[in-house]
C-alpha cells in the first residue's frame, strides 16, 4: 500500500488526542488491535474463532492482577498478560484445530465459556464487580502514566495515550510482518485450498496452531493494554458478546484486509459510545448492521473500497 497513506495514518494517530477524547481514542486503539489479531485468524487463515474474548479478557485480568497485587510495572504487567494469552491460545488452539469450519467456531466458543467461568470464580478477579482500581503506575519505573497535560483548557492524559499508541503500532507491525512473511503466504494458501497445502508437504496443523497463538497473543496484548487504560478488568471482556463484537468489527471493515479491522473497530466503538441514549435499540442497530453486511457487503467497507480502487488495502 501507498507509503503516504501509512504516514498520514501515523500522523493522525499522533494528533488524535488533541481532537478526540483521549480515552475514547485509546479504547478504539485497543479494540482495533483486537480486531486486527482476530483478522489474522479469520482473514488470513480462514478460521472463525468465536471465543477470542477469552484471550482479550483473560490477559486483562492477568495484567490487572500483576500490576495491582504483585506491584509490577505496567510494561511487565502487559507482557505477563500477553504471555498468558499466548499460552492459553496454545491450549485452546491445540484442541480447536482438530476440527474445521463451524465445529472450530463452536469449540472455541465452548472453551471461552470455561474461561468466563474461571474469571467469575477465581479469587483475584472480583467476580461480577470486576478487578477494579488497577494503578497505571510508572512506565519502566520512570514515566508517570497518570500525568495529565492541560492543553487548551482540557486535561489530556498524553503519557498514557502515546504509550497505548506505541503498543498499538508494535502490535500492528507484528501482524503486518506476519501477513507479508513466507509464513503468511502459507497461511493464505491454507485458507484457499487446504488439501493442496497438505499435498505440498506443509504440516498444516502446525501452521494453524502458530497462527492461532500469534493471534491470541496480540488479542491478549490489546486486552492487557485496555486494562491499563480503564484501570479495570471486567467480565464483559471475557463474555461471548465480546467475541461476537470482534467478529462484527472485522466483518464490517473487511475480512482479510489490513485496514478493515481498523475501520470496523472505529465504527463499532463509535456507535457504542454515541448511541448510549437510545437504550436497547443499540442491540437492534448492531444486529441490523450485521445482517446488512452479511447480505450486501461481505467484503466490508475496506474490501468494497479496495474493489472500487482495484487494489488490495
Amino acid at each position: 500500500m501507498n507509503r503516504y497513506v501509512w504516514i498520514l495514518l501515523f500522523v493522525l494517530g499522533l494528533v488524535a488526542p488533541f481532537v478526540v477524547y483521549p480515552v475514547f481514542m485509546m479504547k478504539l486503539l485497543c479494540f482495533a488491535l483486537f480486531a486486527l489479531a482476530f483478522n489474522l485468524l479469520l482473514g488470513y487463515t480462514g478460521l472463525l474463532s468465536f471465543g477470542h474474548a477469552a484471550f482479550f479478557g483473560g490477559a486483562s485480568y492477568i495484567t490487572g492482577h500483576l500490576i495491582r497485587n504483585s506491584g509490577l510495572t505496567p510494561e511487565l504487567g502487559i507482557l505477563g498478560g500477553t504471555l498468558f494469552a499466548a499460552l492459553l491460545g496454545y491450549l485452546v488452539g491445540s484442541l480447536a484445530i482438530r476440527r474445521q469450519g463451524i465445529y472450530f467456531a463452536m469449540v472455541t466458543l465452548a472453551l471461552a465459556q470455561i474461561v468466563y467461568f474461571i474469571a467469575l470464580k477465581a479469587p483475584f478477579t472480583g467476580g461480577e464487580d470486576g478487578l477494579q482500581g488497577i494503578p497505571r503506575g510508572f512506565l519502566f519505573g520512570l514515566i508517570d502514566l497518570n500525568r495529565v497535560h492541560v492543553v487548551g483548557g482540557k486535561p489530556l492524559a498524553l503519557n498514557l495515550y502515546y504509550f497505548v499508541f506505541a503498543v498499538f503500532c508494535l502490535g500492528f507491525w507484528i501482524i503486518y510482518r506476519t501477513i507479508h512473511s513466507p509464513f503468511g503466504q502459507v497461511l493464505k494458501g491454507l485458507r484457499e485450498n487446504e488439501p493442496r497445502a497438505v499435498s505440498l508437504g506443509y504440516k498444516v496443523d502446525r501452521f494453524k496452531l502458530m497462527a492461532f497463538v500469534i493471534s491470541s497473543a496480540i488479542a491478549g496484548l490489546a486486552g492487557a493494554t485496555k486494562a491499563l487504560v480503564f484501570q479495570l478488568a471486567s467480565l464483559t471482556d471475557v463474555s461471548w458478546h465480546t467475541s461476537g463484537e470482534v467478529v462484527l468489527m472485522t466483518l464490517l471493515g473487511g475480512v482479510g484486509t489490513v485496514l478493515g479491522p481498523l475501520a470496523g473497530a472505529f465504527t463499532v466503538v463509535t456507535l457504542q459510545s454515541e448511541l448510549t441514549s437510545v437504550g436497547a435499540w443499540i442491540t437492534v442497530i448492531i444486529g441490523g448492521i450485521f445482517v446488512i453486511c452479511v447480505l450486501l457487503f461481505r467484503r466490508g467497507f475496506v474490501g468494497e473500497l479496495g474493489r472500487l480502487l482495484k487494489r488490495s488495502l
Binding site: K27, L120, F230, L232, S234
Partner: protein, 407 residues
C-alpha cells in the same frame, strides 16, 4: 484543574454563604451551568428498576427546583452504560472532562458504580449512587466525593435477617447467586441471624441467570429449614419464587424470604404467587402523603410507580441542588461539606443524613407482599410491616473500612 488555593477560597466563600451573608454568587457556578448526568442501565436486566425512569425522576427534580440555580441553568444528560464497566468509566470521564458534568447519579450495577466512583474521585467530582448495592462503595472504595444514597447489602441483610429471626424464623437455608453480590448478601444476613440465636443449616450457590431452580428448592425443602433465604436478584429471584410456588414450597411450614426485591419484581410475579413474602426496601411509594404525591406525578410521566432507585434519584438531585443554593457555588468540596451537614428529610428519606464515608443513612422498611384480596389497585402491592431507623439498619462507622473514617 483548580489549585488547592482556589478551593480553599471557595470553601471559605461557602462558609460565608451558609452563615447567611449574601456572597456574590454569579461566578460561583463552574462553566455557567450545573450539569447532572444520569448514567445507568437503560437496556439491560436492571433497566426496569432504574433505566429511563431514573432520568425521568432527575428531570422532575430539576423542574421542581425551578430549572435554574443561582441564576444559572441546570441541565440533565443521560446515557446507558450497558452494564459494561469500561463504557461506564469512559462515559463518566468524558462527561467530566468535555461535558463539564458536575454530578453523576443512578449507577445501577456495582461493577459500573465502582469504576465510575474511581474516575469521579480522581477528578474531584460528585457521584450520588442510587442504584448499586455493594457496601464497598462506602468502605474501601469510598472517596471524599462519593455518596451512596439508597440501600446496600448490609442494610438489606440486617433488616430482613433480624426481623425474620425475631418473629420465629430461627433456621435458615440460603439459595445464593454465586457471585460477589449474592455472597455478600448471604454473609451479611448470616451474621445477624446467628447473632440473634438463629442458625444456618445449609446453602447452595447457583450460577448467575439460572432458569430452573427446582433442584435448589428441593434441597432447601429437604434441609428442613424454616426459612429459605433468596440471596439473589432480578430474574433469578422471580424464577425461584415462581417455581417454589409450583412445587408447593413456602406455603406450609417453610417460608420464602427475598433479600433484594424491587416493586417491579413483585409486579412481574403477581400477588397470587408472591403474597406473604417479606423483604427490605428503602422506599415505598404508598408510605405517606408526600411519597404518594410524588409517585402520582412520576406515574403520570413514566406510567409506572417509582422504585427506590428512581425515588432516590429525585431526592438526591433535589438535595444536591439545595446544597448548591445554600453554599452559593457548585464547587464539589463545598457542596459535599454542605451535603454531609444537612438534614435530609423529604418524601423519600425521613431523618436522613450523609455520613463522612458517603453513606446516606435513613429509615429502612420491612415490607410484606399483600394478598390479592387486600390489593385495591394495580400498584397496591405491599405493606410496610416495620420501620427500622437508619442508625440500626446501616453499617456503623465503627465497622467501616473507609479511608475517610478516622479511628
Amino acid at each position: 484543574m483548580k489549585t488547592s488555593f482556589t478551593r480553599a477560597t471557595l470553601l471559605l466563600a461557602a462558609l460565608v454563604g451558609t452563615s447567611g451573608m449574601a456572597a456574590a454568587p454569579t461566578e460561583k457556578i463552574s462553566d455557567g451551568v450545573v450539569k447532572i448526568g444520569v448514567l445507568t442501565d437503560m437496556s439491560g436486566p436492571y433497566s426496569t428498576l432504574g433505566g429511563k425512569g431514573t432520568q425521568v425522576a432527575v428531570e422532575m427534580a430539576v423542574k421542581d427546583f425551578g430549572g435554574t440555580v443561582l441564576g444559572k441553568p441546570i441541565r440533565v444528560i443521560g446515557a446507558d452504560h450497558q452494564n459494561k464497566a469500561d463504557i461506564a468509566s469512559a462515559k463518566a470521564g468524558e462527561w467530566f472532562d468535555n461535558e463539564k458534568v458536575d454530578m453523576i447519579t443512578g449507577l445501577l450495577n456495582s461493577g459500573c458504580a465502582l469504576a465510575v466512583q474511581k474516575v469521579a474521585g480522581d477528578k474531584h467530582r460528585i457521584t450520588m449512587n442510587t442504584g448499586a448495592a455493594s457496601t464497598d462503595l462506602t468502605n474501601k472504595a469510598s472517596t471524599p466525593y462519593s455518596i451512596h444514597y439508597v440501600y446496600d447489602t448490609y442494610a438489606l441483610g440486617k433488616v430482613t435477617g433480624q426481623a425474620v429471626v425475631q418473629t420465629g424464623g430461627k433456621s435458615w437455608f440460603f439459595i445464593t447467586a454465586d457471585y460477589a453480590f449474592g455472597q455478600s448478601l448471604e454473609g451479611n444476613t448470616t451474621k445477624f441471624v446467628t447473632a440473634l440465636g438463629g442458625k444456618v443449616v445449609g446453602s447452595v450457590r447457583h450460577p448467575l441467570a439460572t432458569a430452573d431452580f427446582s433442584s435448589y428448592l428441593l434441597q432447601a425443602q429437604s434441609s428442613g429449614a424454616q426459612i429459605i433465604g433468596l440471596a439473589n436478584a432480578g430474574t433469578d429471584t422471580t424464577n425461584a419464587i415462581k417455581q417454589a410456588r409450583e412445587f408447593g414450597i413456602g406455603q406450609k411450614g417453610q417460608k420464602l424470604v427475598g433479600l433484594l426485591i424491587f416493586d417491579t419484581d413483585i409486579k412481574s410475579l403477581g400477588l397470587n404467587v408472591a403474597q406473604g413474602m417479606q423483604f427490605t426496601s428503602g422506599f415505598y411509594w404508598d408510605r405517606d402523603d408526600a411519597s404518594r404525591a410524588f409517585a402520582k406525578k412520576f406515574f403520570a410521566i413514566h406510567k409506572a410507580m417509582p422504585t427506590m432507585d428512581q425515588a432516590g434519584a429525585y431526592s438526591a438531585t433535589m438535595n444536591y441542588l439545595k446544597a448548591i443554593k445554600a453554599v452559593g457555588t457548585d464547587d464539589p468540596d463545598a457542596v459535599m461539606a454542605k451535603l454531609k451537614a444537612m438534614d435530609i428529610s423529604d418524601f423519600f428519606a425521613v431523618h436522613g443524613k450523609i455520613r463522612v464515608d458517603g453513606r446516606m443513612v435513613h429509615d429502612m422498611y420491612l415490607m410484606e407482599v399483600k394478598k390479592p384480596s387486600e390489593s385495591k389497585g394495580e400498584w397496591d402491592l405491599l405493606r410496610i410491616v416495620k420501620t427500622v431507623p437508619g442508625d440500626e439498619a446501616f453499617m456503623p462507622l465503627s465497622e467501616s473500612t473507609s479511608p475517610l473514617v478516622k479511628k
